[in-house]
């Protein structure tokens, strides 16, 4: 707004209605909607998970402040909360027992390279947190891919990196030695997984609140989850697990809820048109199921959203609504 006020005459096209919504308000509401899943995560995985979240947020905010102040000479905009969200989302998609440097490297990569190297807020092609996760997955494969632990006894005072924890197969692990979890555990989050992805119920609550407030379009999560549900039921799975063609299991397990409600709906990296949002959600669902069923990785949410982010400009181009009076082509 400061730029606009400097001009004597501000000439813009209509509409001239000013709503109460601005970037900080939207962003801090999203932070609030993300909180329940994080609290469940910290309760289930102990204080070390909280430490990872704080580290990730601090690194993201500091990176943004340093880049804006010293490199770009822009006003520092960390108060708008977008770097905080990136930090939280990144921590939510990391395993709870990762070494301390992983959230820091990831947050720096997310903010410096994925966000600011492409022009800052509103110009990034990919969701920064997801791109950072993909980077970490190839940079430090061992702690990211195989270190799934749960606490022997829940509670915030237990240490996930030490003797209080046992290693256990994650819900979507599809090779020999996998373990099937029941729906209740998947809903409440009492399963091994990333810090913020395990509790489906907390994520659904936060996501529904955002839809109610109008910050998230229902088409993306609905299209995404419905597609996974249908494909998981009818596509022949190449997995030898009891849950291979169990659609409810596929919807509740892994990072689908977090991805569908909070990552795929990122305003910057998803299409602008209503039809486009539906296409985007369905595309994410198709790719996720294909990766889960036929690829080497157990989970496909991260890569499917990144791929659809890449396709966003094309989707926007082909779903443009026809202008009134333009006629049919």
């Amino acid at each position: 707004m400061s730029n606009a006020q400097e001009k004597v005459l501000l000439v813009t096209t209509s509409p001239h209605i000013r709503g109460p919504e601005d970037i900080p308000r939207v962003m801090w509401t999203v932070v609030g909607a993300l909180a329940p899943a994080g609290l469940v995560g910290v309760y289930l995985f102990g204080y070390y998970a909280l430490f990872i979240v704080i580290l990730s947020v601090l690194a993201a905010v500091l990176t943004e402040a340093v880049i804006q102040k010293y490199l770009l000479g822009q006003p520092v905009s960390v108060k708008d909360g977008s770097a905080v969200i990136t930090g939280i989302l990144l921590a939510y998609i990391l395993p709870p027992g990762v070494p301390w440097y992983i959230p820091i490297v990831g947050a720096i990569f997310a903010i410096a390279i994925v966000k600011h190297a492409f022009g800052g807020l509103g110009n990034n092609i990919w969701n920064p947190a997801l791109a950072a996760r993909a980077f970490l997955q190839v940079a430090y494969p061992a702690p990211i891919n195989s270190d799934w632990r749960v606490l022997k006894q829940g509670g915030i005072f237990s240490n996930i990196t030490g003797v209080d924890s046992i290693t256990q197969a994650s819900p979507l692990f599809k090779e020999f030695g996998g373990k099937t979890y029941n729906y209740t555990d998947l809903l409440t989050g009492n399963v091994p997984g990333c810090i913020g992805e395990t509790s489906a119920i907390a994520l659904i609550l936060g996501g529904l609140y955002l839809i109610y407030r109008g910050y998230v379009d229902w088409r993306v999560p609905a299209g995404y989850i419905a597609t996974v549900f249908i494909l998981a039921k009818f596509l022949p799975a190449k997995i030898e697990a009891p849950w291979a063609n169990d659609p409810i299991y596929h919807v509740l397990a892994g990072g689908l809820m977090l991805g569908a409600f909070f990552m795929a709906t990122d305003m910057v990296t998803s299409p602008l048109t209503k039809k486009g949002l539906l296409v985007f959600g369905i595309g994410c669902g198709v790719l996720t199921t294909l990766i889960r069923f036929y690829a080497a990785y157990p989970e496909g949410v991260c890569y499917s959203i990144l791929l659809m982010n890449t396709a966003t400009p094309i989707i926007d181009r082909y779903t443009q609504p026809r202008l009134l009076g333009q006629g049919k082509k």
Partner: protein, 203 residues
């Protein structure tokens, strides 16, 4: 275009017309061999030798080669020097460097930086100027390879010239894989363009 002084011909390739960072040529070897500084340096030296020698010969034969068949003629000249380099490297270089450079030494024959200097410079300029131009461009390419490979080796393997940098550092293996190559090259190009923009030059 006005004639540069001899020192100008030498130094223009270092940064102002750097073949990798400004002309964005020779990406294939630049991305493939820069996993370690040793490899980058060896590749750079090989390119300097081939470029100086081929520029000299092409400058000497520039008036007797028919225009229609000049490209095959250049390739024969370049291939001769590449063969020399390849045999010398096989004989005297440590085997592990040879192994990691692999196919990229024979591929210098079709390196577009060398073809580019032969076509736009050596075929139109005198012997001395062509030799100096080849030397400058070769050094510029080597500088670029060393910058690229040192960043990648330090970040991806935690070493430089094979020596460990810090015991506690956890190397991010992605940096010595293909995605790391594209990432670092892209960021370096962005950095040099950004510097130019800040000085008010056109990109």
């Amino acid at each position: 275009m006005k004639e540069l002084s001899l020192t100008g011909e030498l130094t223009k390739g270092f940064f102002a017309q750097n073949p990798l960072f400004v002309a964005v040529l020779g990406n294939c070897p630049a991305l493939a061999v820069t996993t370690a500084v040793n490899n980058g340096l060896a590749m750079g030296v090989a390119v300097i030798f081939v470029m100086v020698c081929s520029n000299i010969i092409i400058s000497l034969i520039r008036n007797i080669v028919p225009k229609e068949v000049r490209i095959p003629c250049y390739i024969v000249v370049i291939a001769a020097f590449v063969t020399i380099v390849e045999l010398v490297m096989k004989a005297y270089m440590p085997p592990e460097i040879n192994e990691s450079l692999g196919i990229f030494i024979p591929l210098i024959v079709v390196n577009c930086i060398i073809m580019y200097r032969a076509e736009v410079f050596a075929s139109q300029n005198s012997l001395l100027r062509s030799a100096v131009d080849g030397l400058g461009m070769g050094i510029g390419f080597t500088i670029a390879l060393v910058i690229l490979s040192s960043i990648r080796e330090v970040m991806g393997a935690g070493t430089i010239f094979g020596i460990r940098v810090a015991e506690s550092y956890q190397p991010a293996s992605v940096m010595i894989m293909a995605p790391g190559a594209f990432l670092v090259l892209g960021l370096l190009l962005a950095y040099f363009n950004w510097r130019k923009l800040q000085r008010g030059e056109k990109v």
